[in-house]
Symmetry: C2
Subunit: 346 residues, 2 copies
């Protein structure tokens, strides 16, 4: 899922996200939209789909992660999390119930429960307490969500989030508790928080098999192009990451031949397309030399062309995997990916 | 002509410049491209059209204006102008001959001669000396340009530039001298340098009738939407201005109903399109409220959608005028435009 934090996937028009990238679903951030323009405003304007002119699916996170990473003065207690806006310092309270309401107002197709994203590293005790709070919050979120509108669930699904730090038995315990909620899908959170990559994979390996294979399993906030097949191999169906779009803006481009750091002088007169194997607007029409020029000149068009390509590359990987799975060739696909030398900055 | 300073019209894809804005010609800046990526590099990569993937016409300025406005330590003498790059301080010399060569290397369709853009205000004596230098430089540029390749002229036209400050007889004298060059088109420069708007119009009114009406007459660096018909009424065929694209990025949008300063709080929940009379991608798909949100959130998509609209608005005005002229209704069109209250920031 491309990340559209503030009701826009940065530097790409919704039209190109549909036709060039062909993303079936994007993610938007509840924390950001709650603060600006406000969920009430979005609701009055017909909901997020209409507001940003995105006809396909939207998943919104609960806002919890951004409270922990962006805002100062946050204070967690049983009721919820108090925090100060990173924009103007205004104080707010998010509760499991209120973040459901905010996401319903936004009109999300998939809502996420408020969780506490356990920091890394965390002791067993700390991770256990945090995970148990996440479970209690998930139970409250579901009671609130199902209470008045039992029919809502087929339109706007709510996913709980497995936490538990880097502790296998806490992950298992959390997953088991959340299964009782019998939700339409499940997420695995608390990864990509600074832990070594093997730990992320180990936690997913421990957790994913406990979640129903007939329902979407979503790992939040991952990963590199080479890692996507590793997660899929462990049973993951959905991922989101700012990396393709953020790295694009920083001049790091993902291609079928590895990473291209576009500022490198070797591209100065390189007339070849960024990725000869790619069929996106950028690769069909522009040279590496032109992209390098735009990057060095700090032109907005660089961010536009780079974002379009990187997102297309990510979505192409997902499409390749889907196809490989359908024809029963995923193990071979995975083997092929693993045989490619590790991606490293040049 | 949309301005594409560094081989890109900022924040718009060439595809949209063709299909949404439908610009027949754009301008690129010789000074900028000479410094980065260098005209040799552009030539090696197949010329500017291929480099930036723009199949339609390109006009390049001579670089003179940017030398005067951007670079330090410039020193003008008969031979040409010495200057220090605003990027890294490297010293360079532009001569009437060298800037023709740079523009030929870029592959421009319309080249401009090196001129001295007289500052405002300038005494009669100062403006006279400056204008005479511009005439001598134009003569040298044409000798150099026509010397080896008499056949070149039909492929890559060279336009001289009328200078003369705000002095009517200097403008006349300059125009008369330049007419001897019998070029494919003529420009009027040295306007939009700080003079009152009535002075700009007066200088054009004085100069344009002296230039052949059968050839393109180009006023450099103007103007506001309401001013375009005034220039056309005085015989002008071509104009360029950064205003539609620069103002777009600053949140100032031109519409059929006047200027929209999008940050204004009155647009917070305004579900209407930016310009109900406009058929561009931005106006077809997004509300003022969404545009305001993107602007306040400093999102790149704001610059993209705003640029697309403002350029479309400018080109639509040009198309309306062309149509009015063809059906003999231009005087009525002009009258209609003049009846609209003056545009002022809100």
């Amino acid at each position: 899922m491309p990340v559209g934090t503030q009701a826009t996937v940065k530097a790409i028009m919704p039209r190109d996200l549909e036709t060039e990238v062909d993303a079936p679903i994007i993610l938007a951030n509840t924390y950001h939209l709650f603060l600006r323009p406000g969920h009430d405003t979005v609701e009055k304007l017909g909901g997020l789909h209409k507001f940003m002119n995105w006809p396909r699916a939207i998943l919104t996170d609960s806002g919890g992660f951004q409270v922990f990473s962006l805002s100062d003065l946050r204070k967690i207690h049983e009721e919820g999390v108090e925090f100060a806006s990173h924009l103007n310092g205004d104080r707010h309270l998010f509760t499991p119930e209120s973040t459901v309401d905010v996401q319903l107002a936004l009109g999300s197709d998939i809502l996420m429960v408020l969780d506490e994203c356990t920091e890394y590293p965390a002791t067993y005790e700390r991770a256990r307490e945090s995970m148990e709070l996440t479970v209690r919050w998930a139970q409250r979120a579901f009671s609130h969500y199902r209470g008045p509108r039992a029919d809502r669930e087929e339109q706007q699904a709510l996913f709980p989030i497995v936490q538990g730090g880097m502790h296998r038995d806490l992950r298992r315990g959390c997953a088991e508790s959340l299964l009782e909620l019998n939700s339409y899908g499940y997420a695995i959170g608390g990864l990509s928080v600074g832990e070594p990559r093997p730990d992320s994979l180990a936690m997913v390996e421990e957790t994913a098999p406990l979640l129903p294979s007939t329902k979407p399993r979503y790992v939040m906030g991952v990963g590199l192009p080479k890692e996507l097949p590793e997660y899929v191999a462990r049973g993951v169906d959905m991922m989101d990451c700012v990396m393709p779009s953020r790295n694009a803006r920083n001049g790091c481009l993902f291609t079928s031949q590895g990473r291209v750091i576009i500022k490198n002088s070797k591209y100065k007169e390189d007339a070849a397309p960024l990725d000869p194997a790619c069929d996106c607007y950028t690769c069909r029409n522009f040279s590496r030399a032109y992209l390098r020029h735009l990057f060095l000149a700090q032109e907005i068009l660089f961010s536009m062309l780079a974002t379009l390509h990187n997102l297309r590359h990510y979505l192409d990987i997902m499409r390749q995997m889907r196809k490989a799975i359908l024809v029963g060739q995923f193990p071979q696909y995975l083997q092929g990916v693993r045989a490619i030398p590790a991606e490293a900055p040049e």
